[in-house]
């Protein structure tokens, strides 16, 4: 579904050029859920943004469903295949657009017909009643906003969802609801996920395989079983797992 080969992403020009991603390669199979973990600044979100076409300064190969992507140019077919959900549902919804406006604009852009019937179905899909259709973002809680953002991503009926820390702005109780929703949607629609998170237990819950990143490089690609059993091959991964277990008094 997604192949990333020797991907380099940089920002700025020499001498201030920053290499955010260095020589990253991984593949995600159809129907798989793949995690990207690492500290802030390790380049995990940058990879997602390069795939989504939000960054054009990259080199290497990115293939989605067998088609190689050009640096910046993405056609409509691409956005029908790939959609993204962002970290902060407080920032990713236009404050003066109602849920109806957000979804119908997306549907129109995707060239969908029957918009009036699709919107209630999308809202049902993400567990929001039809009563939410004409609400504005400030009338929604954080979890409800993230559900709208997920509905917007699903509007195009994509096959690959890029999830950038979809629950890190939410309370743990709401996080559980959103993670369950994402699991259900993946099963129902046969979606492929690439999920960025700094929370190893969330990735352990959601993903089949994951890549551990440090300073722009992928240091290890491992199965989720290896993560659970703590059989990471790299020291850095082991440190990250230990740190995520919580706080041990020094």
């Amino acid at each position: 579904m997604l192949t990333v080969d020797r991907l380099n992403v940089w920002f700025g020009h020499p001498p201030d050029r920053v290499d955010a991603v260095k020589d990253a390669s991984f593949t995600v199979a159809q129907g798989e859920s793949f995690g990207l973990v690492g500290e802030s600044g390790s380049g995990k979100s940058t990879i997602l943004r390069a795939v989504a076409g939000l960054i054009d300064t990259w080199s290497g190969t990115i293939e989605v469903a067998g088609r190689a992507l050009a640096a910046r140019k993405r056609d409509r077919a691409f956005y029908k295949t790939v959609q993204m959900v962002f970290q902060d549902p407080y920032a990713s919804l236009h404050p003066r657009h109602s849920v109806d406006a957000v979804l119908s604009e997306t549907l129109r852009l995707q060239g969908m017909d029957d918009i009036d019937r699709r919107i209630p179905r999308l809202l049902d899909d993400v567990g929001l009643g039809r009563g939410f259709r004409f609400r504005y973002p400030h009338q929604l809680s954080g979890g409800q906003r993230q559900r709208v953002a997920i509905a917007r991503a699903l509007a195009a009926e994509p096959r690959l969802l890029l999830l950038d820390e979809p629950t890190s702005a939410l309370d743990v109780s709401v996080q559980a609801e959103i993670l369950n929703l994402l699991s259900d949607l993946r099963a129902e629609h046969g979606l492929t996920y690439v999920m960025v998170s700094h929370d190893l237990s969330v990735v352990g819950h959601m993903c089949d395989r994951l890549a551990v990143m440090q300073a722009g490089r992928i240091v290890e690609v491992m199965g989720v079983d290896a993560l659970r059993q703590g059989t990471a091959r790299q020291d850095y991964t082991r440190q990250l797992i230990a740190a995520s277990q919580g706080y041990a008094r020094a």
Partner: protein, 292 residues
């Protein structure tokens, strides 16, 4: 020895729909200990911290039967007198260092200013104190950091600088409002170690506000669990997994765990009775200063 005693604290805001109570009658004592306050967003945990420091602005109203700092009432003091307490005797570290530091002032100048405001003294002494404080929070190159601007340091370092600044006047109580939520796990441990050492070495009382139950269980001595502006349960941190209130249990269960994979995460079913039910208090004999 009780540093802070809070009895029936309430914070209310008038709205068009009537009065909204963000904090609805909470009581606790703080000794020389690490006290965790956990709850979801909107449970009133941050508002509790702000109310203690007198940072709730009008039209918000703070009332309490008692709000004593070492036996002295500090409820609704005049701004002049509150300023003597704020920073000097009770300090607060906020969530995000990016928004707490002045972006157009060097870090050194900010620490020196904060210190001189509270302790007076000349610039040279204050500067030396600032360097000592930066060293105390394990900043390796304090001379360089003194001359740097906030955007030139990382998030973890920014948070350590905030802690250094708050600790310069040697307060008795530190209120830390989600001090590590904006930080990476690896940096988080360092920041917690620093706070832990300061509490132990200086005998400070720490109020640690967080939404992260596991972290609080491991870091604190005692935990208050807040729901809808009330304390629903208090217990020793090491017994958090034995929590009896369904809300606490629900929060714990909704966390994904690496060692116990499940297909679906249990979702919290909220009940109206939690809003006004009694506080579940652990009835153990303890050696905690304020009791439980």
């Amino acid at each position: 020895m009780t540093l802070l005693s809070v009895q029936n604290l309430r914070v209310a805001f008038p709205t068009r729909q009537g009065t909204f109570e963000a904090v609805r009658g909470i009581s606790f004592n703080l000794g020389r200990e690490r006290l965790g306050v956990v709850g979801e967003s909107g449970s009133g945990k941050s508002m509790t911290g702000r109310a203690i420091l007198g940072l709730v602005r009008a039209p918000g109203r703070v009332t309490a039967d008692r709000l004593d700092l070492e036996g002295q009432p500090i409820l609704n003091l005049s701004e002049r007198r509150m300023r003597k307490i704020r920073g000097n005797r009770i300090s607060m570290v906020m969530q995000d260092p990016k928004f707490s530091l002045n972006p157009v002032m060097t870090i050194g100048d900010q620490i020196v200013e904060a210190y001189r405001l509270h302790a007076g003294g000349n610039r040279a002494t204050a500067r030396q104190k600032a360097l000592d404080m930066l060293a105390a929070v394990q900043i390796r190159d304090p001379e360089r950091v003194m001359g740097a601007y906030p955007h030139e340091v990382s998030g973890g370092m920014g948070q350590r600088i905030m802690i250094a600044m708050m600790l310069a006047p040697d307060p008795e109580i530190l209120i830390a409002d989600e001090p590590t939520s904006a930080l990476d796990v690896s940096v988080r441990t360092e920041v917690l170690n620093i706070m832990d050492r300061l509490v132990r070495d200086r005998g400070m009382g720490l109020i640690f506000i967080s939404h992260d139950l596991n972290l609080v269980a491991q870091f604190c001595d005692r935990v208050l669990i807040m729901y809808a502006g009330r304390i629903v349960e208090t217990l020793a941190a090491k017994d958090l997994h034995k929590a009896r209130h369904p809300y606490t249990q629900g929060l714990l269960n909704s966390l994904p765990r690496l060692d116990a994979p499940v297909d679906r995460l249990p979702v919290l079913q909220r009940q109206d009775s939690w809003r006004d039910g009694d506080t579940i208090t652990q009835s153990l004999e303890t050696d905690f200063p304020g009791g439980l």
